[in-house]
Every structure is written in C-alpha cells, then in structure tokens.
C-alpha cells in the first residue's frame, strides 16, 4: 500500500466514525438534525479523499456527480411529506442499482477473478438487482401508478421458487469460473430484475411499510457486497449499518401488525380477508359538532389518535389548531401514534411535525396504553384497525393479536369517520359499538374545522 492509499484508508476510518456518531445522535429529536449533518460530513470527507487516488477518470466522475446532485437536491426539496414513502422506495432502488452497476463494471474490467470474488460479484449484482426492480414496483404501488392490491396468481410460489433456483444455478456456474461465464453473469442480472418484480407484486398496499423497510435493508446489504467486490472497508461498514437498520425496522413493522415476515411476503393479505364482512353489529351513537365541543371543552386530557386518513384529508394542520385551542383551554393534549400509522415507519410523526406539532406531544403506543384509563377523551381521526379492540378479545378476527392503541379504555372515545364503511383490512370495528364511544360523522377536515369554529365562537 503506498502512502496515498494509506492516507485514504485512514480517512475512511474517520468517515466510518462520523457515520456512527451521526446515527447515535439520531436517538433523540433534539440532536437528530446535527447527527444528520455529522453523517453528511463523514460522506463528504470520504468522497473528497477518494478523489485523491491516482488515475481516476475525473471527466465522467464530475459530470456524473453534477447530474446526480442536481436531481437529488431538486427531488429532496420538492417532495411532499405525504410522498416520503415513494421517495424512500426510489432511493432504495437507486442504491441497489448503483451497487449492481459497480459489480458489473468491476467484472467487465477484470473478469479473471477468484471464486470468492466471483461469489460476491454475484451477491452484489443479485441483491442490487432485486432491490432495484422490487423498489420500482413498490414505488409504483405507493404512488398509485400500478394497483396497490396484491397481485396473486396460481402457482406464484412455484414460479418464484423456480426463479430463485435459476439464480442459484447461475451463481454456482458463475462463481466456479467467473472469467468464462459472462453469459451466466448477464443471466444473474436478468433473473434478479425478474425476481424483484415477482416478489413484491403479490404484496398488498397495507403491507408496504414492511416492504420498503426490507428493501432499505437490501440496499445496504448490496452496498456491503459491493464493498467485498472492491475490497473497501467503508462500503462494508456503512452498508452493514444500513442493512441492520432496515432489518430492525422490518421487524418492528411486522410485530406491530402481529405477522411474521414470511406471512407478509407470501400470503397476499389484502386479497384474502375481504370475506370478513360480518363481525360486530349493534347501535352506534352519533354526535354533532356541538356535542363533541362540549365533551372536549370539559376534558382535562385529550389524546388524538391519528391514522393515515388524517393525512389523506390534509387535516393535520386543523388538528394542530384544535390542539392549540384545547391547550389554551387548560387541557393536556397529546398525540398517540401507532407504529403502522402512515405508510412507512414513523411517517405520521413527520406529518404532524410538518404541521408544527411539537415532538414532546407525540407519544408512542407503549407509552400511552398504560395510562389510558386516566385519559378523558380520545379522538380517533382516520385510524381504524389500529384502535380495533377485536384485536384483543376476538379470536376469530383477522387482526387478533395485533397490538393496538387501547382507546376503548379512555372515559370517552370520539371517532371521526366519513361513514360506517370498514377500514383498510376490510374489518368492521368493534370500537364503534362500545358504550363510551360517540361517532362524529363527516369529512375529517371539515369536522375538525367545525370544532375549531365552535371553540372560537365561545371566546
């Protein structure tokens, strides 16, 4: 190793340390922003120092970086917060394809490689390819460009198994003697792209948070594999951090839905449970804006339970306005957020933060449930399955066992709903028929605005 290479590698150690510090600072909203900057500094340092290496092709590098920066910067500033899942899906895919292209370029340049390097070239190209095409399908589903329903057909599992088998055979042939098997390599890329599509297409829209978490993990692992290909530590460390992060998030999402990863990946949830039309019946007690106003006005503590319906109705700003009025009235206000509220992990928190809800009012499910009995009023807005008590006591319910925000234990529950139609999973909600539940029908945004008006009139 000459002195330049030594210098570069020592700097990579520093970069890795900065990534680690950055992630550590992400453990609190107070330091998170600085943490992101620290991490970005680590990246900048690594990029700059890499450019010191001799004999690299500056022309294409600089042109590529200018184009990439422009696209990335504009996209980052234009994206709506509601569209974050789509953006993350796209970025997962870009990370994957970059690793695939790197493996390809390396192999094209140096086909005479050992079996081990051949194997990691396969891993990098395969994981990268699956991540790319899988993420494009996830992006299509999230943005509504293709149907978000689970697309299932007969023999799907067998088809997927065959595709995977083809990948393994190509991998074996390829890594035995990489130099002589350019064809097998192209086959690997092709199979990877096909497998990405066929493995994501059967997964329904409601399960997308799991899928993008998983693809997030893959994009890190692809970078890791690429690190093995070029023998670069910083790629391995950074890729492993991302891989671990994606796996943890995937796990959290699965737990919050009380399902195993295998079940999410292979069962096509959205397509199988529509038959659950029966379920709890009974009389619901509707309430007018005025009724709800009197309930809220008299409450000492109010917990809002927002679901994705809130963001669809673009009601987060009026909800915050109502929250402020309640606080002025001496009421303690907080927002209880279920892990799967929104369309990706933590999505609802970002949407509320955008509406200027301070983060100390955002509480997690596990923190609010133990003190639910002392809450005066829970206001459920655009959430359904995550507050369905059937998950606790009805063993025949498809969501039985799923952890929920136990709003039914509050003194009064107000459910904002457009009509009595069942939610995402197609299950009628037992909560609506509880004696302490009042239904406040109407469009979420208009309903909240009516309450805000009631409060303002009374001043």
């Amino acid at each position: 190793m000459n002195s330049t290479a030594l210098f570069i590698n020592f700097t990579y150690v520093l970069s890795a340390a900065l990534f680690i510090f950055g992630l550590k600072m992400l453990s609190s909203p107070a330091t998170a922003r600085r943490g992101n900057l620290v991490s970005a500094c680590g990246m900048l340092l690594a990029i700059v120092v890499t450019l010191f290496a001799q004999g690299i092709d500056y022309k294409w590098i600089i042109l590529g970086m200018i184009i990439g920066s422009a696209i990335g910067y504009v996209a980052a500033n234009r994206v709506e917060m509601t569209a974050m899942p789509e953006m993350v899906a796209l970025f997962n895919g870009f990370g994957g394809i970059a690793s695939m292209l790197l493996a390809w370029a390396e192999y094209h340049q140096h086909p005479e490689i050992s079996s081990f390097i051949g194997f990691v070239v396969f891993l990098s190209a395969f994981i990268g390819g699956v991540t790319f095409s899988g993420s494009m399908v996830a992006y299509g589903k999230l943005s509504g460009k293709i149907t978000s329903k689970a697309v299932v057909f007969k023999g799907q599992h067998i088809a997927n198994a065959l595709v995977l088998l083809a990948a393994i055979i190509s991998a074996l042939v390829f890594s035995k003697n990489p130099a002589g098997h350019y064809g097998a390599f192209l086959q690997i890329i092709f199979v990877a792209l096909v497998f990405g599509v066929t493995s994501v297409i059967p997964i329904g829209g409601a399960d997308m948070p799991v899928v993008i978490s998983l693809l997030n993990s893959y994009s890190g692992l692809a970078a890791c594999a690429a690190g093995f290909v070029v023998g670069n530590n910083i790629l391995i460390v950074a890729g492993a951090l991302v891989g671990a992060s994606g796996i943890i998030l995937t796990n959290i999402m699965c737990k919050a839905m009380n399902r195993s990863l295998a079940n999410v990946l292979f069962s096509g949830f959205g397509s199988t449970t529509q038959a659950a039309g029966s379920g709890p019946q009974g009389e619901v007690k509707p309430a007018s804006a005025e009724d709800v106003y009197y309930i809220l006005e008299a409450a000492d503590s109010v917990v809002f339970v927002p679901g994705y319906g809130l963001a669809v109705a673009q009601a987060q700003h009026v909800v915050r306005e109502l929250g402020d009025l309640l606080e002025k009235n001496g009421t303690e206000v907080s927002y209880a957020i279920h892990p799967v509220a929104g369309r990706m992990p933590g999505h609802m928190n970002v949407l509320l933060a955008e509406a200027n809800v301070p983060y100390d009012q955002l509480v997690e499910m596990d923190d609010i449930n133990p003190r639910m009995d002392s809450v005066d009023v829970c206001v459920v807005i655009g959430a359904n399955d995550v507050v369905n008590p059937a998950a606790l006591d009805d063993e025949s319910s498809p969501i039985y066992g799923m952890p929920i925000i136990e709003t039914q234990r509050a003194k009064t529950v107000i459910v904002l709903k457009r009509s009595m139609n069942p939610g995402f999973a197609g299950i009628q909600n037992a909560l609506f028929f509880y004696p302490n539940t009042r239904m406040y029908f109407g469009d979420a945004k208009a309903s909240i605005q009516a309450l805000v008006a009631e409060f303002k009139d009374s001043d």
């Binding site: 992101n36 970086m65 790197l102 890190g220 998030l249």
Partner: protein, 97 residues
Amino acid sequence: MEAIYLTFVFVLAIFLGFELISKVPSTLHTPLMSGSNAISGITLIGVLASLKADNLKFATFLGFLAVIFATINVVGGYAVTNRMLEMFKKKDEGGSK
C-alpha cells in the same frame, strides 16, 4: 486472508448497527430511513475508486451511471433528511404558535 478480514469487519459492523439503531425512537424512523438511503449511497466511494481513466469504454459507461444513481442517493438522502428533521421542534422553540 483478505476475505476473512473483510468478513470480520462486516460482522462487527452488523452488531454495531443493531446496537445503534435499536436506540432510535419510532418518532424518527422516517428520517432514519431516508438518512440510511443517503448512507447506502456509499457505493459512490467504491465507484469513484474503480472508475479509472484507462478503463474499457463499457465499464466507464456502467461506472458513470452508477455515479449518477449513488450521488442522487447521497445528496437527496441527506437533503431530505435535513428538511424533515428541521420540522421536529420542541414546544418552547415555538413549535406551536
């Protein structure tokens, strides 16, 4: 021998990752994901080092594409994460007016 050494680094980094990420509160999981998008753009470093001036034309073309994609991730990922985290305010910082 290098394979062993790299695998060693990989395994340790995975464990470190689990330790670090499990401390991130669920409030910040979306910025965590977009931030890790940016970090997975680390592939850029590998691409830069492998894009040599005397490369074959086709390899240069692949590398060029890889530079574009990886840079989108790095720049876009950090920028959008910063934009999101900027919105997380404590109450006394004027979170609610």
